[in-house]
Each structure stands twice: as C-alpha cells, then as structure tokens.
Amino acid sequence: MSGETLFGLCGAALVGVGLFGVICQPGALRKLIAFNLLGSGVFLLFGVIAKRGGGALAAAGQGADGDPVPQALVITGLVVAFAATAIAIALLRRLAGLNDQGRSEGEPPPASRSRSDGGP
C-alpha cells in the first residue's frame, strides 16, 4: 500500500463523513462546515489522482512530482468553495439578525424561526 492509496481511501471516507454531515446536521452552519469537509474529500481525491499521474513520471526520471492540471483545478475549486461559504454565512447571519429583531420587537417569530425551535 502506498501513501497515495492511503490518502485516496481517506478522501473517499471524508466524502462519506461530509455527506452525512450535510444531510443530518441540525443547523445550517453545521451543514456548511460539513459541506467544506465533503469538498475537501473531493479535492483530496483529485490530488491523489494528480500524484498518481505524476508519480509514474517521477519514477521514469522526468522530474514531475504531480500532474499540475488537477492541482491548478483544485486551487480554482478552493476559491469557489470559499465564495460559497461566504455567501451562505452572510445569508445565515442576515436571517439570524432578522429573527432577533422580530423577537426583540415582540412580534411573533417568522415561520422559519418557529420551525427551528424544535432543535436537537
């Protein structure tokens, strides 16, 4: 068993853990963290594929340690994932702010809020 295989298995496991979290976590923030785990699992698999591709070359003495194409794509993917996280957090904070406002003004809480009271 090589290091790449090990990390490949790890990536697959992270996908599983992330999927479970996105589906089963009670709050949106926890879902979002789990989504980031899921994404990192996918990126890790891509990194393993890059290493496998480059590893063969390095063994042949061509000096490439990894396939640069997946690596470049993972960098792009990380930036996109960050933007997604930022939007989700902004939405979440705005929603929480509105709910707080509604509570302090003595209004009945909006629908989305009353549903959330049954938390774990």
């Binding site: 589906i23 594929i49 997946p70 929603l95 629908a111």
Partner: protein, 604 residues
C-alpha cells in the same frame, strides 16, 4: 496510454477559422459584469438592455453560422487544443440554449426596467443587485451552452448558482432568506457530486474535454466502473440542481418568494442550465447509458414529478406557488426523454423533444411568472380565491396567462403540443403506452389549475378596478410576447427544427417532415375537447359561485380531498431535508448499481 495523439488531430480537423465568433457570447456578459459594476445607478438597466440586445444578435449570428455550416463550430481558447487547453463548441443544442436564454433574459430585462430603476439619482440596493445578478445568470448560461470542458462547466454552474441564490432573497424577507439558504446548500451539494464525477473521469482518462472523453469511452469494450460511478454522481448532482422530484425541496419556496422578474429567470432558465449539462452527459459524453435499463428510472422520476407537481399546483392557494409547482411538473417532462431515447426513433428524436420542451417551457413559464407578478402588484396579494376582478383591470396580462397556459397544457399549435406529440409518438413506437397516459393526465391536471386561476380572475365580483394599481403597458406586452412565442413555436418553418440535429446522427424520420405539418384543425379540436370537459368541471366547482368552499375543487368528493391531502403530506415529507438527503443518497446508489448491472448484462 498517450492521451494526446489521437484527439488533437481529430479536433484540428473540426476547428473552423470562423470559430472566434463563439467567443462573443462568452465575453459580452463578462464585460457587462465588470463595466456594470462601475456604471451602477440609473444607467445600469438601459446598459444591460443594450448588452442583451447585442447578445441576442450574437446568438442569432452563431445560429446562422451553425445552420449554414451544417456542422458544429469549435474554438480552442488560447490556441491550446484539448486535452491541455479548453475548447468551446456550438452545436445545435448549444445554439438553442444561447437563443432561448438571450430572448427570455431580454424580455425580463424589458419588464424589469420599471421595477428596478432607482427612483432618484442615487443607486439602490435592489437595482444594482438585480441587474448584476441577471448578467451573472446570463454569463453562466452562455458558458454552459458553449463549454466543452467538464471543469469549465463546473465553474459555469457555480456562476449560475451564485447569481441565482441572491435573486431569491432580493426582497429580504425572512422566508425568502431561508428559501435562498436552503437552495444554496442543496445546490452546493449537487455541484460537489458533479465535480466528484468529473474528478473520477479525469482519473480514468486524463482529460476533461467532453469530445475526447466521448471518443475514449466509446472505444472501451465495456463501460469501466469509474465511468459508471461518475455518471451516477453527476446525474444525481445535476438532478438536485434541476429540482427533479424527489430532490425538489428547494424549488417551490425559492421560485415563489423571489421578485417576479427573478422568478421568471429562475424558473425559465436557471434550472435548464443544469438540465442542459445532463443532456450533454447522457447524449454526448456517455451515450451508452441510454441503452441501460437505468434510463427508465429517470423517466419514472419524471412521471412522478409530473403527477406530484400538478396535483400540488392544484391545491395551492397562492398564484406564485401554483406557478412554482407547475415548474416542478414541467421539469418532469424533460426527464421523460431518457427512457424514450432508446426506442426506434433514436436519441436525436428524443433530444429534439427535450430541447423543444426547454424552449417552450422557458417562454411559457417566463410569461406566467411575469403575469403573476403583475397581478400580485396590482392587487397587493396573490391569493387565487380573491382574484376576482383582475380580468377587467389587467386584460392583457390575463390573456398572456391564458396563452402561456395553452402551451403548458399542450394545445395546438404550441411548443408544448409538439413536445407531447413527440413523446407520445416515441412511447407508442416503443410499445410503452404508459408514458402516454402520464402525459394525458398531466395535461388535464395542468388545464384544471390554470382554468381554476383564470376562472377566478375572470369572475366579476371583486374590488373595483380603480382601486388596483395599473401596471406598465410594456410589462404586460412582454408577458404576452413571451406567451405568444411559446404558442407559435409549432408554426415555425420546418427547417428550424432540424437545427437541433446539427452534429448528430439524424433520426430515421426527419424531424422537419414530422413536425412541418403538425398543425391540423382536427387535432386542435381533439386537443380542446378534454379541455372543455375540464372547464365544465372547474366551472361546476365554482369560481363564479362566489361561495367559499373547503377543498381545492370545491365540494366534489371526499376522495379528491383525501387524495389532495395525501399528496400534500407526501410532498411535505419529501421536502424535509433529511428525507431529500436520503433520496439523494439512495438515487446515487440505485443508479450506480443499476448502471453496473446493466453494463454487465450488455456485455454478456
């Protein structure tokens, strides 16, 4: 395994010098997004309008070039050929999406000039956000239409999602924020699954270019596990983004809560972006999937969507929710083409029907959401039971709704009719008559809820017209124009329909001859007859009676009410997050295992 040798030569032969034309639809929205941010304020709306007009012109030119050339146009960005570089490709399918998105976006842009113009000289939140996000959606769609690289398409999908989600919550109410958050999280889940599929394909073949991948996959003796797993993951991920039942949890609140112009774009175009990628995967990337029994599963889900969406639409008390659930149902029609593609008529025929449904629904649903917005604005609410009097205040709007409805129901000569005729024909040819049954039931249910709404709007007892606010005439005319476009699709010259088969194996029976003479007075009458029956039924249940009745259709039967509440319960269950998540996982596994067994059966 030298990945570069075969494909480069193959592609070089296809790339035409005029291909730089393809860059224009890509650059226009990009430049628009950048300059629009600098422009801001009052000038942004007119600027977007001018840009979209130019975009429509560019799309028309590309379409003309593809049609006259008779083969797909290819362009290699940066002069690098795939697999190293990224290619753009315009075949008939891309051209149709380019044109549809340009037309609908332009219509919405005309409509929105009034709603999203800052009142004073200062820029407002809504105006900047709406116009910029509209450009973002357009940029995403154009890239989806032309992209030929799975990762570029991923970025385009995210561009689409990031632009669409804030459109949902533009009015800032807590419900719409919650809907937007739910939409975002589920859409992100969908994109990750799609990306995972792309990663596996890269691991198997060392390229992400659809053309190169298709060549190598087709050359394989049997579909390897990585391709099957990638197909399952990408299909389910894109289904989640397209909101196919049972993954539709986010759609009704998101589409019903957005401002009307945004709803029109979301329902008409955004869900089509991810569906379009599904078409690319199933028809271009791995056409072998269509022969597997698992393709039936997509059709079954489509049928479920038609029934569930229509039954739910029938029960809605609010017009915008009714229209949103109608979208859930209409998405179902899109997925009926997958089981029918393997029949004798061939995949190109099914693909044509699907593409036509994309166009027809985009126009009709865009119109219907715009009309619903005008009604809600005039009355200050959109409760269907209190719509009385709208017919007198907004005759053009109501006419637009009616015309759009004809297309959704599938009456001659609308695009919806052609879609249903094509699907019926394919179903009969393949001996699978039950798909036809679903189509008929769907049409009747659609007719029922649209008549229910129009009947209420036409009834006379209501607020005096003078109390309602008058809408902009241009806004009403846009809604009508889109609806008429959808209705008159069936009267287009036959050659237009051949556009879709550019770059594909032509079907045994040319599309043009089948659809050229589609319009008959006889079949119009045959289509209208059941409609009349439904009308009488709706009439009997009484929007004109003025009495409030408990059930959606009034008194009729405890049975109907029971069915209604059962469907409502089912829908509410399915739209719970854990249940939808469970469905998603179950679908991934079912499709994956189904593909694997099907592929093995094919080989042996």
């Amino acid at each position: 395994m030298e990945a570069s040798a075969i494909p480069t030569a193959w592609l070089a032969g296809l790339s035409a010098p005029g291909g730089v034309l393809l860059v224009v639809p890509l650059i226009l929205p990009v430049v628009g997004l950048l300059l629009g941010l600098l422009l801001g304020g009052r000038r942004l709306g007119p600027f977007v309008f001018v840009l979209l007009s130019a975009g429509l012109a560019a799309a028309v030119v590309v379409a003309a070039a593809v049609v006259t050339g008779g083969e797909p146009m290819l362009y290699q960005l940066g002069g690098w050929s795939p697999p190293l570089g990224v290619a753009l490709k315009a075949d008939g399918l891309s051209v149709v999406l380019l044109l549809t998105s340009a037309v609908v976006t332009l219509g919405v842009a005309v409509y929105a000039q009034r709603d999203f113009r800052p009142p004073g000289a200062r820029e407002t939140r809504g105006s900047l956000a709406f116009w910029m996000l509209l450009l973002g959606v357009w940029a995403g769609l154009n890239t989806v239409a032309l992209g030929q690289d799975l990762f570029t398409l991923f970025v385009a999908l995210e561009l689409l999602t990031f632009s669409a989600v804030p459109l949902v919550s533009l009015d800032g109410r807590a419900e719409t924020l919650a809907a937007a958050l739910r939409y975002l999280l589920f859409a992100l889940l969908g994109s990750v699954l799609y990306l995972l599929g792309a990663v596996l394909l890269y691991g198997a073949y060392g390229t992400l270019d659809i053309g190169l991948l298709a060549v190598q996959i087709a050359a394989a003796h049997a579909l390897p596990p990585s391709v099957l797993a990638a197909a399952a993951l990408m299909t389910v991920g894109l289904m989640a983004k397209t909101a196919l039942v049972p993954l539709h949890l986010w759609l009704p609140p998101a589409h019903a809560g957005a401002p009307p112009a945004a709803s029109a774009i979301l329902s008409a175009l955004v869900v089509k972006g991810s569906f379009f990628l599904l078409l690319r995967i199933w028809f271009d990337l791995i056409p072998g999937l269509l022969d597997l029994p698992a393709a039936q599963a997509l059709g079954v889900l489509g049928a479920a969507a038609i029934l569930l969406g229509n039954l739910m639409a029938l029960q809605q008390a609010r017009l915008k929710l009714l229209v949103a659930y109608s979208t859930v149902a209409q998405i179902g029609y899109l997925f009926l083409i997958f089981p029918l593609a393997g029949t004798t008529s061939g995949p190109t025929w099914a693909l044509s029907a699907g593409t036509l449904q994309v166009v027809s629904h985009a126009l009709a649903k865009g119109s219907l959401f715009l009309a619903a917005g005008l009604i809600a604005k005039a009355l200050g609410h959109d409760r269907i039971r209190d719509l009385a009097g709208v017919g007198r205040v907004l005759p053009i709007t109501l006419l637009a709704s009616g015309v759009a409805g004809l297309s959704l129901v599938g009456i001659q000569p609308s695009g919806g009719y052609l879609v249903k005729a094509a699907l019926q024909g394919a179903a009969e040819a393949g001996g699978t008559w039950w798909w036809g049954l679903v189509l008929d039931a769907g049409g009747l249910l659609t007719a029922a809820y649209l008549l229910w709404f129009i009947g209420h709007a036409l009834s006379g007892h209501g607020p005096h017209p003078a109390t309602a606010k008058a809408p902009g005439r241009a806004q009403e005319l846009v809604a009508l124009a889109l609806a008429l476009g959808s209705l008159l699709l069936g009267l287009l010259p036959a050659q237009v329909f051949e556009l879709i088969s550019v770059g594909r194996v032509p079907p045994p029976e040319p599309i043009a001859t089948a659809w050229a003479g589609a319009f008959h007075w006889g079949s119009l009458a045959a289509g209208l007859l059941p409609l009349l029956v439904v009308a009488v039924l709706v009439l009997a249940f009484g929007p004109w009676g003025g009495r409030r009745r408990p059930g959606p259709l009034g008194w009729p039967a405890v049975g109907a009410a029971g069915l209604g509440s059962a469907v409502g319960w089912l829908d509410a269950r399915l739209r719970c997050w854990p249940v939808a998540g469970f469905s998603l996982l179950a679908l991934v596994l079912t499709l994956g295992v189904g593909f694997a067994f099907g592929a093995r059966a094919c080989v042996t």
